[in-house]
């Protein structure tokens, strides 16, 4: 029952943010901040689903989003519909993630992380050289879409990704993924097909990242490989759950809003210190709040609200 209420609440909030904000006269600037919060939330939940639950830290999610963005823009330029382009972006990226996963998910710990980092750089090199993707000069969307479309799609995606995380975290699947994170050998000994499960969740996670990238392609309208495939988006995907709370459904919501809000304040008041402060913040969170801000907030909030920030547990 509680889960149903939470799912309905997420859907209502996303719908309000998507359709009511423009009618309420909220400035385009604030709506853009909402958009970026949703973009980073979708990316963060994609990372959270894979790395948060299994403990396999990925630096490839920025590149997976980038591939989604390129696939969608190329499909749109070839006169595919928006829906078809999004499906293609997700399918292509899932296929690529399957290749990455098959070759790298037998590795453990830092070895897997380095394999994903290698993929991130490889994707950048390939996209720079590929004539069909515009090379280093980038790729422009030939048809410009009204701004409400990527806004609404990104909010819907962020909401869907959060609901998916909520459902998975509270399910037997979520428990088994966390078991892999806890002790993979012990997980295998109780019948968990760890490699297959990791591969499946990595592909699902890649599809979410790809859709986030594809929708962002509609929003940005121009894609440059050095921007799309910079390590920044992979760091955002990792930072958002780490700030809010890894392996929780609602932690990344706090993480995304906090990241965008703080980033914006720093851009205004201390632009030269922007990345330094974000970096220091991450170090402090890892050292002093390893479970992220969500459990900390849960400790000071009244019980009903606090329950929504804690990891979902049966028992």
């Amino acid at each position: 029952m509680r889960k149903t209420i939470e799912i309905v609440a997420i859907a209502i909030i996303a719908a309000i943010l998507a359709f009511a904000l423009p009618r309420l006269g909220v400035s385009p600037y604030l709506r853009t901040l909402v958009y970026y919060s949703a973009f980073y939330l979708a990316l963060g939940q994609a990372w959270n689903l894979m790395s948060g639950l299994t403990g396999y830290v990925s630096f490839a999610h920025g590149a997976l989003a980038g591939i989604g963005a390129y696939a969608a823009v190329m499909a749109l330029n070839a006169d595919w519909s928006v829906a078809e382009s999004l499906v293609l972006a997700a399918a292509v990226t899932m296929l690529i993630s399957l290749l990455i996963g098959v070759t790298s998910l037998r590795l453990r710990g830092v070895s897997f992380t380095f394999a994903t980092l290698f993929f991130q750089q490889l994707a950048l090199l390939v996209l720079r050289k590929l004539p069909a993707s515009g090379g280093p000069g980038g790729l422009a969307l030939e048809e410009i879409f009204p701004v409400w479309l990527p806004h609404a799609l990104m909010l819907a995606l962020a909401a869907a990704a959060t609901i998916l995380m909520l459902l998975v975290r509270g399910s037997r699947l979520g428990i088994r993924l966390l078991a892999i994170k806890g002790d993979e050998d012990a997980a295998v000994a109780v019948g968990i097909a760890a490699t297959r499960l990791k591969l499946g969740v990595f592909c699902a996670s890649a599809a979410i990242a790809a859709l986030a990238g594809a929708v962002h392609g509609l929003f940005a309208a121009s894609l440059y490989p050095d921007v799309v495939f910079s390590i920044d988006f992979s760091l955002v995907a990792l930072a958002v759950p780490m700030i809010g709370g890894v392996a929780t459904a609602f932690g990344p919501v706090i993480g995304a809003v906090f990241y965008v809000g703080l980033g914006e304040l720093l851009q205004i008041y201390a632009p030269s210190l922007h990345l330094t402060v974000i970096g220091l913040l991450l170090v402090c969170i890892v050292l002093f709040l390893p479970a992220g801000l969500a459990p900390g907030l849960a400790a000071i909030l009244p019980r009903p609200a606090a329950g929504r920030l804690k990891p979902v547990r049966e028992g």
Binding site: R172, A189, V190, R313
Partner: protein, 239 residues
Amino acid sequence: MTAILEVDGLEKRFGGVHALRGASLSIAAGEIVGLFGPNGAGKTTLFNLIAGTFPPDRGNIRLRGESVTRLPAWRRARKGIGRTFQITRPFRDLTTLENVLATVPRTGATKPADAAASRALLRQVGLDSRAGDLAGTLTLGMLKRLEVARALALQPYLLLIDEPLAGLSGRESADLLAFIATLRSETAVIMVEHNVRQSLPICDRAIVLDAGTVIAEGTPQDIRTNPAVIRAYLGTDAC
């Protein structure tokens, strides 16, 4: 009696160390078998080969007549081989109940594997009052019982219990052995244990390994008086 497990000529080398040299054994349904031997005899290697942690260099392992020699560990678990670990390996950040819920029951398992069944297993091992607590907060004795509950959730044909008494007090050891003795009706058990005196009485049969080879096999009484066993444990002067 029907053989649940047949191990035939298992060999395993780790570099220059010949850990197992053609070990063979057979376990029947409902049997509790003690696997004994001095340090370095190959007991844990044999456990790991049966559970599928790594493959043997030579030899065969059959579960209920079907070869599982080349199957990965998770497939063997789903065929019905459960295990515990010498040093407990709980999922520390999951609750006690979630630890049991994580188990994937063997293919063709007849009992349900829902939260109610998992709670019943926790009750069976005396941990039902700690169902909602993180496994990382349990004592060593509780963790040993949790590992048994987690393995029983597989509804296994064969349960491998590795050094269940290590680190436990006398009372905890007696309670755990009494519990293991009740498992005959559910599964066959192979138990590796250093405390031969305490664990032998609950065994139907004992197998003794030395230097990677089975040197003796028989009833607890046979084993106590077997000269090869006495020699392996106490040296050649003892005979």
